[in-house]
């Protein structure tokens, strides 16, 4: 439904988005992941015609955004929940949107109900809203025109855990009904539970894509963490079976699948107390893939010395 082809956006010599191509399918939630400044927002602004691309093209349902009549009725957009006049009330913002799209005022009440903003909250001016309330209002605004496509930039930002869970349910439900959802985040855990497909972007380039399993499969060879009542005997058995093994904390790290480790333990008659996948998680993969673009390298963190003086 959303098709990004060879999209490049340069600012002088800085390349914000570098030859990015991907598609978002109807009925699926596509997560757009990357650290701050990776090019997510620029890509999304190009999608809705707010930023002209240097090269490449984006189409939504076969049309360029500019060629969609009354676009709010087809594509729901939330790019920045704070980009609203602080002096307007929440209700007024939705009313202006409904008026522009040619929708009845009753639609405003429906949307306020949907995002659980009360009548009293809707009467308050937006400058007095918390970020979470602005996000709810932004989501309501995006859904006003009953669109087939949703483009949401960091919608979970500022939502409390209950709000994030609510939003997940809402978007999942929307996609299950055939809608196309593209949502961006710099936080993996916000996205990994609902995204059917993830696109990882770093430094303006796509570094990985696919569903959870595909991404994890590409994360490197299988690793297993194992602890037993007799680690020495187990290590010997594993080495005898030709599996590389090393000490890891109170247990062992083995370059093999959990089943192979279990089998070796069984034949050596060692009692296991812990056996689990030790492969890089999605989080590690995410950090590793986007490492070049991270502002802070995790290794630069130093624990304070007990005396509180810097070593």
């Amino acid at each position: 439904m959303i098709k990004v082809e060879g999209l490049t956006r340069k600012y002088g010599s800085f390349v914000a988005v570098d030859d990015v191509s991907f598609t978002c399918q109807p009925g699926r939630v596509t997560g757009f992941l990357g650290p701050n400044g990776a090019g997510k927002s620029t890509t999304m602004r190009v999608m809705v015609g707010l930023t002209p691309p240097t090269k490449g093209e984006v189409t939504i349902g076969g049309l360029r955004y500019h060629d969609i009549p009354n676009p709010g009725r087809h594509v729901g957009v939330l790019l920045d929940a704070s980009a609203q006049h602080g002096g307007r009330t929440g209700r007024e913002v939705l009313t202006l949107g409904a008026m522009t799209m040619g929708l009845p005022e009753s639609r405003v009440d429906e949307m306020l109900d949907l995002v659980s903003l009360t009548k009293a909250e809707a009467k308050r001016r937006i400058r007095n809203y918390s970020l979470g309330m602005k996000q709810r209002l932004g989501i309501a605004h995006a859904l006003l025109g009953d669109p087939q496509v949703l483009i949401l930039d960091e919608p979970a930002n500022g939502l409390d855990p209950a709000g994030i869970r609510w939003m997940r349910g809402l978007l999942k439900n929307y996609a299950d009904r055939g809608g196309t959802v593209l949502l961006s985040s710099h936080l993996l855990h916000e996205v990994e539970q609902i995204a059917d497909e993830m696109i990882l972007i770093g430094n303006g380039r796509i570094v990985a894509r696919g569903d959870r399993e595909t991404l994890l499969a590409g994360a490197g060879p299988a690793q297993t963490l194992v602890t037993s009542l007799d680690n020495a005997a187990l290590a010997a058995a594993l080495q005898a079976a030709g599996l590389p093994v090393e000490q890891a904390g109170r247990g062992l790290r083995v370059q093999a699948a959990a089943a192979d480790v279990g089998r070796a333990a069984l034949s050596a008659q060692v009692v296991l107390t812990d056996l689990r996948d030790g492969g890089a998680g999605l989080e590690d993969l995410f950090l590793q893939l986007t490492a070049d673009t991270q502002r802070e390298a995790p290794s630069s963190l130093q624990a304070p010395t007990p005396e509180g003086t810097v070593a």
Partner: protein
């Protein structure tokens, strides 16, 4: 906030999964609707509401003061004079209105939403311009209506109302006030910043004519050039509209191109092409 529910999101999104957007039944947003939306935006915040209220209050107060002073002193005053008093003040306030119509969208960043809902930006700008003209005309109607009431009251108190208005004054009023509003609009489009646009407008109106007069006084060649670049003086001629010759229209058009059309065109080009963040 009540406990959130995952209610139904939409009616038309159903099990089918179209790859192509069906837009055959979707009409583009009519221009009149955009004007209606912009008209609402021009009064739905405290700042914009009070600007409109102040314009109304100033018109009424200015004409009421003119009525009181002339009645007490038994000075002569015509219908047209009442509106002229109001026009003098609104020619300062209407440009601020023109500026606010454009800049609030940028300083408050709501342009992101506005240009997403109507991606043909030129139509949004045209709608804003139409709102500027509508509100300017409303100001003129108000000033004229209050002027009529004041003239009637003057007649009641002094026994000799003078209903002379003059088409010259009327059309000069309409054109002049719209040019004032447009100048503000053009500067706002160029600068996209409320404070800067207001400052530049006052330099335009109060400092520039003085500088031009000063230059004309000391330099002969500039004296001949001055009428062609002095937009304020050229607009002053409008109040004797029927006496305006081709030369005076020429002054208005040339100075108008320099001080109004050029900044407007540069500003519009920028708005239409700029990246909206």
């Amino acid at each position: 906030m009540t406990s959130p529910s995952t209610g139904s999101v939409s009616g038309s999104v159903t099990g089918t999964s179209p790859i192509v957007l069906d837009v055959t039944d979707t009409a583009p947003i009519p221009f009149g609707r955009l004007v209606g939306v912009e008209l609402r935006k021009a009064r739905d915040t405290r700042a914009s509401f009070w600007l409109l209220a102040i314009i109304g209050i100033v018109v009424v107060l200015a004409e009421a003061i003119a009525l009181i002073v002339t009645t007490v002193n038994d000075d002569k005053i015509q219908f047209g004079d009442f509106t002229a008093v109001a026009a003098f003040l609104t020619s300062v306030l209407l440009p601020v209105l023109g500026i606010m119509l454009v800049t609030t969208e940028w300083t408050q960043r709501s342009a992101m939403v506005t240009f997403t809902l109507e991606s043909r930006r030129s139509r949004v700008i045209l709608a804003k311009l139409a709102v500027g003209v509508i509100l300017t005309l409303a100001t003129i109607v108000l000033a004229t209506a209050i002027g009529a009431i004041c003239t009637a009251l003057y007649g009641l108190f002094n026994g000799h109302a003078d209903w002379h208005y003059g088409w010259d004054g009327f059309f000069g009023f309409i054109i002049g006030q719209n040019l004032a509003m447009l100048t503000g609009f053009a500067l706002a489009a160029l600068l996209l910043n409320t404070a800067a646009a207001i400052v530049i407008f006052f330099i335009y109106t109060y400092v520039l004519p003085g500088l031009i007069a000063l230059g004309a006084h000391y330099m002969d060649w500039f004296d001949k050039l001055a009428p062609w670049i002095d937009f304020s003086s050229a607009q002053g001629e409008l109040y004797e509209l029927s006496d305006m010759t081709g030369k005076e229209w020429g002054h208005l058009v040339v100075s108008g191109i320099i001080w109004l059309v050029v900044p407007l065109v540069i500003g519009l080009r920028r708005i239409l092409r700029a990246e909206v963040k």
